[in-house]
């Protein structure tokens, strides 16, 4: 049987945040902007999804119960090839100097400070995920 050509060439984003409200907000904003969006409620679920599916960008909250944002990022960066090099956008609670330098040290590619407007979210996600292929 001939393989059906996968017509979905949208960029894929994984949103990781423990608040369902936040996840909903990001999800709809990004879908409207033309991305395919998946959600995860914490670092563990995020890791499972990343190992199973292809993504172009991860958006990760800094505060999560269990495995916090930094640990997740650090862990991810030491995994195998394609997963390790995933671009990561971190959402922080305030422009705290320690947070920012920790984020850099952990290997985050960019960060935004809450609250994030829809326009900013889309703008940065688009830049970091790259144009649709």
């Amino acid at each position: 049987m001939a393989a059906v050509e996968n017509a979905d060439r949208r960029r894929r984003i994984l949103v990781v945040d423990d608040s369902s409200l936040v996840r909903l907000y990001y999800h709809s904003a990004l879908e409207r902007a033309g991305f395919a969006v998946e959600q995860a409620i914490n670092g563990i679920e995020a890791t499972e999804k990343v190992l199973a599916q292809r993504f172009d960008l991860l958006i990760v909250d800094i505060n999560m119960p269990g495995m916090d944002g930094f640990s997740f990022v650090r862990d991810l960066r030491h995994r195998k090839a394609d997963i390790a090099a995933l671009p990561i956008l971190m959402i922080t609670t305030e422009a705290d100097e320690t947070d920012i330098s920790d984020a850099r040290a952990a290997g985050v590619n960019y960060y935004l400070v809450k609250p994030v407007s829809e326009a900013d979210l889309v703008r940065h996600a688009t830049a970091l995920a790259g144009p649709a292929s």
């Binding site: 172009d56 991810l76 960066r77 030491h78 995994r79 090839a81 390790a84 090099a85 995933l86 671009p87 990561i88 330098s101 850099r104 040290a105 290997g107 985050v108 590619n109 960019y110 703008r123 940065h124 688009t126 830049a127 970091l128 995920a129 790259g130 144009p131």
Partner: protein
């Protein structure tokens, strides 16, 4: 190479090796107090040694590195990958310089610039943890500027370009090399020049299996790409970064918001790479940085830069070296720093080499004059400030005034320097019309001559450009008229029919050298000797005693010409003495060297700046004159017992030397007081034209800094005066040219 230098070389090599090992171990295994301390001490010792053998550029760089390591050593800064990389790069540079010093006894001429750039980077690391976001602009070698003119504006803009110099070894064919094949494989080639390394000999003497080419190219590809192409001949290739060419902003205004975001994203990746713990060279880090950067670049339609980053990533993976990605990102930052964001630029507008303003030359001139007068005005303030102190005493008021005066002095001098810089123009302005001149003249005289220009980008004060045109014109005319033989004569002599004249400018520090070189018949010392004898320039004995070299210099004497016919084209050889005078008036020197049958080289050596002179004011016959400090040795008050009289001349002994005393008033043909042997003689001891003399004056007054205004109008050619300036109290002061006065 003396023993001290030998020791420096071996010690430095050892220290560099050891520090490199330690740093790499730290990078692999993390912080180690003992190792860090060793590295710090290594830099400290290297810095000291550089001072001992007087290599200031090296010292500058090592100092900055040492400061950085001191902070790490004192645990004021964490040791990060970025820091280790910088320290290693510093050691690489030091190592390269030590090699150069060992081979040639000096550092390369760009050492100072490199040291400054690198030191800046290192210090930026020290002040905050973010890496400097802009890479220093490097202009590349001089030939690159010329070659860049062939690069289309649209190709070059906003890209960081590389200039390649490839000089294959003469025996390379026997190694199986095909240099041009390598060059043909350079991607993104934008300009190419191929010249013979040495002039081609006559055909029968050409060795078909010896490579005699020098190849220059400009390309938009990456260093890694070039390194791969030339991997078998790295010693024959040199690669230079070129500052990105910026085009003038065209119609639409750039979207500043977008630009800022892209810049920020790139900068963040660099920061993130530098923030890694030492020992963290994980693919995840630099891989994600490369991907994020490439994504952003593509999104903002900088596919070319995205490609560079991706290429760098591949190399980084292959070599397991994340720094390659960081380097690529730095280059991208530099490329993005080019201001033009509008992609619809006018294809016909030429690429401007740098950001510039169009200014009317008259404005710069008036600024310069104003600044000169400000200097005179500040001198008068200095004068008043001294007066105040004598009246008011050394109290607060006196001190305040003095401080204010010093401050003003400092500011005005600084401003004057800055304005002097405004007047700098590239020498190419001077050279511009010469190819045409050469062509026309060659046609007229039935000669074949080709004129090439090199070093046009060297800069000098525009006065030089204005005043050197005539002399240079004369030299070029001379070369074509007298120097270059008719084609038949050249053929008979086995020379290529096409003669070659080179106009070459070079700038070293604050000197500008200009050479006019031809491959013509050269100067015949015998002919000059004969002419000198004929014209009675000197006695036969004197002429015979002259070396060939000294004889050649006679060409600058007035009244000498070896042309068999006086033509209207170049006039007599008399022109050469005018050329020399002009050059010397500008504060320069001229020399001529020649080989009979092979050619002649005239070399001008000039100061780049319009100089400010220091003057001492003296009084004679009731008038004030200025004497340039550079000819004044000292001023003395001689008691009568020191002065001796021999017939009508007076003199005195100064440190075992008899110095004649001459009254300045008398020398200037001014009414003079009769000599009074019982009074003290106030003298200014000056040395000029090879003679030492004591000028007796009635008074010696202040010294001042002045920009000399050249004499104009009727006095323009008056000998003995080099210019005028204003005194502190507003009088015009004539400044004497002692060289002329005494010759």
């Amino acid at each position: 190479m003396n023993e001290l230098q030998q020791q420096f070389i071996s010690e430095s090599k050892e220290l560099v090796l050891q520090a490199t090992d330690d740093l790499m171990t730290v990078e692999r295994s993390g912080f180690d107090a003992e190792r860090i301390d060793r590295v710090f001490r290594a830099f400290h010792t290297l810095k000291g040694s550089a001072g001992v053998v007087n290599l200031p550029a090296m010292g500058l760089l090592l100092h900055a590195a040492e400061d950085l390591l001191a902070a790490v050593n004192a645990k004021k800064r964490p040791i990060t990958t970025g820091l280790v990389s910088e320290a290693l790069e510093c050691l690489d540079q030091v190592s390269a310089w030590v090699d150069a010093f060992e081979a040639r006894g000096v550092l390369p001429s760009d050492a100072g610039e490199r040291a400054r750039d690198a030191a800046l980077r290192l210090r930026a690391l020290l002040s905050d943890n973010t890496s400097s976001r802009s890479t220093p602009n490097r202009h590349g070698p001089v030939w690159a500027a010329a070659l860049m003119q062939e690069v289309a504006a649209t190709d070059a803009s906003d890209k960081a370009l590389l200039a390649v110099a490839y000089e294959p070894l003469p025996g390379c064919f026997f190694d199986g090399d095909d240099p041009l094949a390598l060059v043909a494989s350079i991607p993104n080639l934008l300009a190419l020049s191929i010249e013979p390394r040495e002039p081609w000999p006559p055909r029968p003497d050409i060795d078909p299996f010896a490579c005699n080419l020098r190849i220059h190219a400009i390309t938009a590809t990456t260093r890694d790409e070039l390194a791969a192409i030339f991997r078998l001949v790295p010693d024959q290739v040199e690669i230079f970064d070129l500052a990105p060419v910026t085009t003038p902003t065209a119609t639409a205004a750039p979207d500043t918001k977008t630009t800022a975001l892209l810049d920020d994203i790139i900068a963040c990746q660099i920061d993130m790479l530098n923030a890694g713990d030492a020992g963290d060279n994980s693919y995840g880090r630099y891989g994600s940085a490369a991907r994020a950067a490439a994504h952003a670049l593509r999104h903002f339609e900088r596919d070319d830069l995205a490609f560079d980053v991706e290429a760098a990533l591949e190399s980084a993976i292959a070599q397991q070296n994340g720094n390659l990605v960081r380097d690529a990102l730095r280059r991208v930052t530099a490329a993005l720093a080019a201001p033009s964001e509008d992609r619809d630029r006018d294809p016909d507008s030429p690429a401007a080499p740098s950001r510039s303003l169009r200014i009317d030359e008259a404005h710069v001139d008036s600024l310069f004059n104003l600044s000169g007068e400000l200097i005179v005005a500040k001198n008068s303030l200095a004068h008043l400030s001294k007066l105040v102190e004598t009246v008011v005493g050394d109290g607060d008021l006196g001190r305040s005034i003095r401080r204010a005066n010093e401050n003003l002095d400092h500011l005005i001098t600084g401003m004057h320097s800055a304005i002097l810089q405004l007047r700098m123009v590239p020498v190419s302005q001077l050279f511009r019309s010469f190819p045409r001149v050469a062509r026309d003249l060659s046609l007229r005289l039935d000669k074949r001559a080709e004129l090439t220009i090199q070093g046009g980008t060297a800069e000098c004060d525009k006065t030089l450009v204005e005043r050197l045109f005539e002399p240079l014109l004369h030299l070029v005319r001379n070369a074509i008229d007298h120097g270059i033989e008719a084609p038949e004569e050249r053929r008979a002599a086995g020379k290529p029919e096409q003669a070659h004249i080179a106009l070459e400018a070079a700038r070293t520090g604050d000197r500008l050298t200009i050479e006019v070189r031809d491959d013509g018949r050269g100067i015949d010392p015998a002919a000059i000797r004969a002419k000198a004898l004929e014209r009675g320039l000197m006695s036969a004995d004197e002429i015979a005693a002259l070396s060939d070299e000294k004889t050649t210099q006679l060409i600058f004497s007035a009244g000498l010409s070896t042309a068999t016919a006086v033509t209207d084209i170049s006039g007599r050889g008399v022109g050469m003495d005018v050329v020399r005078n002009t050059v010397e008036q500008l504060g320069g020197k001229i020399a001529i060297a020649s080989r009979l049958g092979a050619g002649t080289t005239v070399r001008l050596d000039l100061p780049v700046n319009v100089a400010m002179s220091q003057i001492v004011v003296v009084e004679a016959s009731g008038q004030f004159f200025g004497l340039p400090m550079d000819v004044v040795n000292e001023t003395l008050r001689l008691t009568p017992d020191r002065v001796s009289r021999i017939k009508n001349n007076r003199g005195f002994v100064l440190r075992d030397r008899v110095v004649p005393i001459c009254s300045l008033a008398e020398a200037l043909n001014l009414p003079d007081k009769p000599a009074d042997d019982r009074a003290d003689h106030l003298v200014v001891v000056a040395e000029a034209a090879g003679k030492i003399i004591a000028l007796q004056v009635d008074g010696i007054h202040d010294r001042l800094d002045a920009v000399l205004k050249p004499m104009k109008g009727l006095l323009a050619n008056a000998p003995a005066y080099s210019g005028t300036t204003m005194t502190a109290d507003g009088r015009v002061l004539l400044v004497l040219d002692l060289k002329e006065l005494f010759s």
